[in-house]
């Protein structure tokens, strides 16, 4: 129990509660159903992006290409529906297959060449995104079936279906890392590839699978974004998919995922995404000089992590006495 109070997850919950308290005190509208819906919708997408990055950070590497892979999956989805005329369920499969394949390419290159995943994914980010642009000529797919767009607007007690999807995926993923032999082996390989290899784990194969898993999660995130926009658009993750990088890193790192690999926290990542979304949303709702919002966001982030460190020090000190 004591270890729970020392954990990152607990710290994030405290942080979320504090910021919610502040924001709802400042602004009564904070709890409006629409705001809840909006926050949960963004948080759901950010959580999945974070989980996608987390899955590669588990190897001690990183992937700059998650945004590009996501966009490729979304565009493949749009193409399958509009140009190939497939049913949306088949199109989902096509989109995920594209994502998984691209993840495999990343993983294979990283393992086979032994070059750091940073450089590999820097290059493949360009290649994937460039290929997508060339094929799509920058045009969007808008004629999506009503099921998809309605899903994007669906809410359960003001909570967006996107968020619920993200939570469901997170639960599965948490169980995967906790209970599946494969998940355990991925973490072992990530923490110390050589030791894992000598214990009978195919470290190389695990690294590839981590990239594949990450790509699959990126694909799901992109499909959620597609549902939210009601369209598959090439710019949904920004130039080269780079807009996903910051939320991608922020959520798992706040959540306690080790950048050196081998340890992940699925609930921490989801909580990290929620914290960041609430911070951004709450700040935008206060009337701060528009150009200063970002500076204050930076300060609050710093305050949040510093507060967390002090909490841990305090608890550790009082725990011993």
């Amino acid at each position: 129990m004591a270890s729970f109070f020392l954990s990152n997850e607990f710290g994030l919950i405290v942080g979320i509660c504090i910021f919610i308290a502040i924001f709802s005190w400042v602004d009564a509208n904070f709890w409006s159903p629409f705001n809840l819906f909006v926050i949960s919708r963004s948080a759901g997408v950010y959580a999945l992006i974070g989980l996608s990055m987390m899955a590669v950070i588990a190897t001690g590497g990183l992937s700059l290409a998650i945004g590009a892979i996501g966009v490729c999956a979304a565009m493949a989805f749009g193409w399958a529906i509009e140009s190939a005329g497939l049913h949306w369920s088949a199109s989902l499969a096509v989109a995920l297959a594209v994502a998984l394949a691209l993840g495999y390419v990343n993983g294979w290159l990283v393992v086979r060449t032994g070059i750091h995943s940073f450089v590999i994914t820097l290059a493949t980010m360009s290649v994937f995104f460039g290929g997508m642009l060339f094929l799509s000529q920058g045009q969007s797919f808008r004629a999506l079936p009503a099921e998809i767009t309605e899903f994007g607007r669906l809410k359960v007690f003001s909570i967006s279906a996107l968020f619920l999807t993200a939570v469901a995926v997170a639960l599965l993923l948490a169980a995967f890392y906790r209970f599946a032999a494969l998940g355990r082996e991925m973490l072992a390989a990530g923490a110390c590839p050589e030791a894992a290899e000598l214990s009978g784990v195919h470290s190389g194969r695990m690294f590839i699978l981590c990239h594949v898993l990450s790509a699959g999660l990126a694909g799901i995130a992109a499909l959620l974004v597609t549902a939210r926009f009601g369209a598959a658009i090439p710019s949904m993750a920004g130039q080269l998919g780079q807009d996903w990088l910051m939320p991608g890193f922020l959520a798992p790192v706040l959540g306690g995922t080790l950048l050196s690999g081998g340890r992940v926290s699925v609930p921490g990542t989801v909580l990290g995404a929620i914290l960041v979304t609430i911070l951004a949303n709450g700040l935008l709702r206060m009337s701060i000089g528009e150009f200063w919002v970002q500076a204050i966001l930076g300060c609050l982030l710093l305050a949040a992590v510093l507060g967390d460190v002090m909490r841990k020090r305090y608890l550790a000190a009082s725990g011993r006495a």
Partner: protein, 322 residues
């Protein structure tokens, strides 16, 4: 071990050979690429990007990351331009203050990281937001236009019509960094902390101050890059620095730096910058379909890194244990 094989094993050797070969091959295909004017542009790119990248490299050396290089650079750039335009300060004074701002920003990063033990990644991610936010708050996204003629001349003219003035700071800094990292205790401590922080702590060297020093140097270099960018672009744009992050990591890694710390090379890093610049500029010249530029850029980077990697593996096979 012969001299040649020593070179063959050096970090800078692979990127250097790739760069020089690429320039020669592209030059053979198209003479325009090796015209003095074109080489001038290449050197300018290496000079500016080199400063950016060295700023990141120092932090990579201690096994950390500085996500706020662009934030610091942008802040320094608009401070430099703004102080000249709004306060009417002479360029030298404005540059000095801009550099001080960089040092202060680095100190802020380093001090927080060293005293709280929070990962550099998180701290610099937050401070990136802070620095960029201050930048936007000051400028409201408006550029500063009134750049004095001497600054513009510094950014566009060349010494003896050969060596762009802008490359001088980079040359000086690169040399100084090389000396620092290979010959001075501070630089050695930075590398040692990157390789094995526990071992350094046991020798009694202060981990805290070494980390802070690395971040201060990084902040200083990022600010220098910001000032140089103003001179190069002839305008104080608030967007300066937004695009620095990926390049700042790519070049050291292409040059063989180990992201977990302890191993960087100034020479190899600068050659890494050169490879990226050559590829970028060659793509402009070869009239690639704009929709394909990104894809081709990615493939070429993979290719260049792959070759270098192959050489490293070959070189390592030669070594044995004693």
């Amino acid at each position: 071990m012969g001299r040649t094989s020593a070179y063959f094993q050096a970090d800078w050797f692979g990127p250097a050979v790739i760069s020089v070969l690429a320039v020669l091959v592209i030059g053979l295909i198209d003479r325009a690429f090796i015209s003095p004017a074109a080489l001038d542009v290449l050197i300018l790119a290496v000079a500016l990007n080199g400063m950016i990248v060295l700023s990141q490299m120092v932090v990579i050396a201690i096994g950390q990351m500085n996500l706020s290089v662009g934030g610091i650079g942008g802040l320094a750039a608009i401070s430099f331009a703004g102080l000249m335009q709004v306060q009417g300060l002479p360029p030298v004074a404005a540059a000095a203050i801009a550099l001080l701002i960089g040092v202060a920003a680095g100190l802020f990063n380093g001090w927080l990281i060293a005293t709280t033990g929070i990962s550099a990644f998180v701290i610099t991610l937050a401070s990136l937001s802070l620095f960029k936010g201050i930048n936007l708050g000051i400028t409201s996204a408006q550029p500063f236009y009134e750049i004095p003629a001497v600054v513009k001349a510094f950014g566009s003219e060349a010494l003896f019509d050969m060596l762009p003035f802008l490359s001088l700071p980079t040359i000086v800094i690169a040399f100084a960094l090389m000396v620092l990292l290979t010959r001075m205790p501070l630089g050695r401590n930075i590398l040692a902390v990157g390789a094995n922080p526990g071992a350094v702590a046991l020798t009694g060297v202060s981990l805290k101050w070494t980390v802070i020093a690395a971040h201060v140097i990084s902040g200083f270099l990022a600010a220098a890059a910001g000032v140089m960018a103003v001179a190069r672009l002839q305008i104080g744009l608030p967007t300066i620095g937004d695009d620095w992050l990926l390049l700042s990591f790519a070049a050291p890694v292409i040059g063989g730096a180990v992201l977990s710390g302890g191993h960087v090379s100034v020479g190899a890093t600068l050659w890494g910058v050169a490879i990226v610049a050559i590829i970028t500029q060659a793509l402009v010249l070869f009239k690639i379909d704009p929709y394909l530029v990104q894809a081709v850029l990615g493939l070429l980077i993979l290719w260049a890194v792959g070759i270098n990697r192959w050489r490293e593996v070959r070189a390592r096979k030669g070594e044995g244990k004693l």
